[in-house]
């Protein structure tokens, strides 16, 4: 997975609460058997009109926001279906971090496995960030656990193991196989009733 240490980027604001994974990536796109190519379908129902043309009023489609790497959103982002495809769509589009009021547990875990940094900030901080102009940038510093915008510095919390994983860009399976002997020992003593 791609490491995440620091990111300076432009941001898009989609302030709604309860953006579930059906909205992030509708189910018709779950049929791919690859992990790539979902970016064009991100927020599909909001991004495109019924005739397939771009919905020009949607934030993601505004020319000034092209190339943005940080998404600023509301509470309870990523609820609903466990589809990791929602995270792949966000990263494939080019997002490196999502700043919200809260994330569903499954979405949060999925993000930690794909280098998409989920940042929880309280409403008073996000209110300030929502004022960002298209040509302004936000700095995210993971080692320092800070989000910097203009003169404001906001601190965020993250579990130390997830933090390390982001910074090192580690593959989980290789890491786990370091414990192979412990796993094998555990298997020997598991209850087995036939």
């Amino acid at each position: 997975m791609e490491a995440f240490v620091r990111e300076t980027g432009r941001a898009v604001v989609i302030p709604n609460d309860n953006i579930n994974t059906d909205i992030i990536l509708p189910k018709q796109f779950l049929k791919n058997i690859l992990k790539t190519g979902f970016g064009k379908d991100l927020f599909f129902d909001w991004r495109y009109n019924a005739d397939g043309s771009l919905n020009a009023t949607f934030e993601l489609n505004k020319p000034a926001h092209q190339g943005a790497s940080i998404l600023i959103t509301g509470n309870d982002f990523g609820s609903g279906s466990s589809r990791e495809h929602a995270v792949w769509a966000l990263t494939d589009y080019g997002f490196r971090a999502v700043i919200g009021g809260g994330f569903s547990d499954i979405f949060y875990m999925n993000s930690t496995k794909n280098g998409l940094l989920p940042i929880v900030l309280p409403e008073e901080n996000r209110k300030i960030l929502r004022g960002i102009q298209a040509d302004e940038t936000i700095q995210i510093d993971l080692p320092e656990q800070t989000v910097i915008y203009k003169n404001d510095t906001f601190h965020f919390d993250i579990n130390s193991q997830w933090k390390e994983k982001f910074i090192n860009g580690e593959d989980d399976i290789d890491n786990t196989m370091k414990y192979e002997q412990l796993i094998a020992a555990f298997e020997k003593q598991r209850p087995n009733f036939g």
Partner: protein, 458 residues
């Protein structure tokens, strides 16, 4: 030390890692389906890894399955996912119940039915409704696709232990209200995210009196409250359900005595507790676009409080001075991992017996598994549905998520026994109203919702 059911099972599964950090947890049962497994198997292939424990892994097909003509998969991408699962399970020696197989069905229906789901296990699946299996007193939760690959390769998963929440359910369940109404009532009262970060245990006499099927319905919808895990303490009802099933432990006595040590010592062991009294519970119906937007059937729909409400009303085509009885229905759907078990179908059939669907109502009855389908045909339940004018379908996820040909057309109202009323969930522009199987069946006959707790029905 006094502990919760969740704590006790968790501790038995920790391989390494300390409290408060991610711990490596052993997985006793990994359920696999065609939608969230292609990338993980591909990942194993690319890294020359194997499935560590095919014997603790079980695969079936459900999300894409056509329920009308089960072998006739028209959608090329659906076919590709299903064919890919056949190829992958063969290559990696994982047992598969494919379409047509006696064991095929919705993964969360088939696991318990085969006896694979057992108390005190850790059970995972790349699907958020894995919480269903917690009804057996197991720790069961949905995982993402990278985690599926990790479990296939290592039979373990890294998790930070969640906090625990006890939901005590009290009171006698009124006639014609069900587990579905309890869980919908809880979510309507406390919202769609109160469970985030918590493993929920449902307990109390009301829960003890529920069947396994009813407990599964409650645990299934824990995720609609934000909790990955819902569970119920295993008891005699649980043991009776598991005993004699194909994959039940051969030394059942030993298993039972092992399982009997798993219970919450004291209510004060939970990090949080809530209580919910069902004595005056009414059948619940959703009016909006998340499962928390629900109301008792005899109440007016709520006033508009914010943009979320306004948007929901706009999408669903209703307004606050209506009641659920005023919602005219075009479709009814009885199925899904929430409510497609034999008991659910039996309850619905009893409501429909001797009646016919209202004109203009289309009804899809989709049993959760091949075994349930066969049993319902044998017992005559299937015929009750057919005589009422319903379409009696093949097992699969069907219109719960409409990834298959079963899609509710735009603008149409559907009374559904499923779990999510999200925008577009049951088809682009579809308008979903979640309710219990009894409510949905009665609504199909009337053409609109009816209060099945009134004298006419009890």
């Amino acid at each position: 030390m006094s502990k919760t059911l969740f704590d006790k099972i968790w501790e038995k599964h920790v391989i390494t890692g300390g409290i408060g950090e991610a711990q490596l947890i052993y997985v006793d049962l990994h359920l696999v389906h065609e939608v969230t497994s292609p990338q993980p198997f591909d990942g194993l292939r690319n890294t020359n890894r194997r499935v560590r424990r095919p014997d603790l892994t079980f695969a079936t097909m459900d999300h894409n399955v056509p329920t009308k003509d089960i072998f006739n998969v028209q959608d090329q991408m659906s076919r590709l996912q299903m064919d890919t699962l056949v190829k992958n399970t063969k290559e990696f020696n994982v047992p598969l119940a494919s379409i047509g197989d006696d064991k095929q069905g919705i993964v969360h229906v088939v696991g318990p039915e085969r006896g694979l789901t057992q108390p005190a296990k850790v059970i995972v699946c790349g699907d958020s409704h894995t919480a269903t299996h917690g009804a057996f007193g197991a720790i069961a939760f949905g995982i993402g696709t990278s985690e599926v690959e990790h479990v296939l390769a290592t039979q373990t998963i890294w998790q930070v232990k969640p906090k625990t929440m006890g939901i005590k359910v009290t009171g006698k369940l009124p006639t014609n209200t069900y587990a579905k109404d309890i869980i919908m009532g809880i979510i309507a009262k406390y919202g769609v995210s109160f469970g985030v970060g918590y493993a929920i245990e449902f307990y109390g006499e009301t829960v003890q009196n529920l069947s396994m099927e009813a407990r599964m319905t409650m645990c299934n919808m824990s995720i609609e409250a934000g909790s990955r895990t819902g569970m119920v303490q295993p008891d005699q009802t649980t043991f009776d359900y598991v005993e004699g099933r194909e994959q039940a432990p051969k030394d059942f006595g030993a298993a039972k005595s092992y399982w009997s040590q798993f219970y919450t010592d004291d209510e004060s062991d939970f990090d949080e507790t809530l209580t919910f009294d069902v004595s005056n519970l009414k059948p619940m119906v959703t009016w909006g676009t998340n499962p928390g937007m629900a109301t008792p059937v005899d109440q007016f729909l709520p006033e508009i409080k914010d943009d979320n409400d306004a948007n929901a009303y706009d999408y669903i085509g209703l307004h606050p001075n209506m009641k659920p009885v005023d919602i005219n229905l075009d479709y009814i759907f009885i199925g899904s991992c929430t409510n497609s078990r034999y008991e659910d179908l039996e309850i619905a059939a009893n409501m429909m017996k001797g009646h016919h669907l209202a004109p203009n109502v289309t009804a899809w009855i989709v049993p959760g598994s091949r075994a349930i389908r066969n049993r319902a045909i044998k017992s005559g339940i299937a015929k009750i549905f057919e005589d009422a004018g319903c379409e009696w379908r093949e097992p699969g996820c069907s219109a719960c998520l409409a990834m298959n040909p079963d899609k509710i057309p735009a603008g149409k109202h559907v009374a559904s026994t499923s779990n999510r009323n999200f925008i577009g969930r049951q088809g682009v522009g579809s308008r979903t109203h979640l309710a219990s199987p009894a409510m949905v069946a009665a609504a199909g006959i009337a053409g609109h919702f009816v209060d099945i707790t009134t004298d006419e029905f009890v």
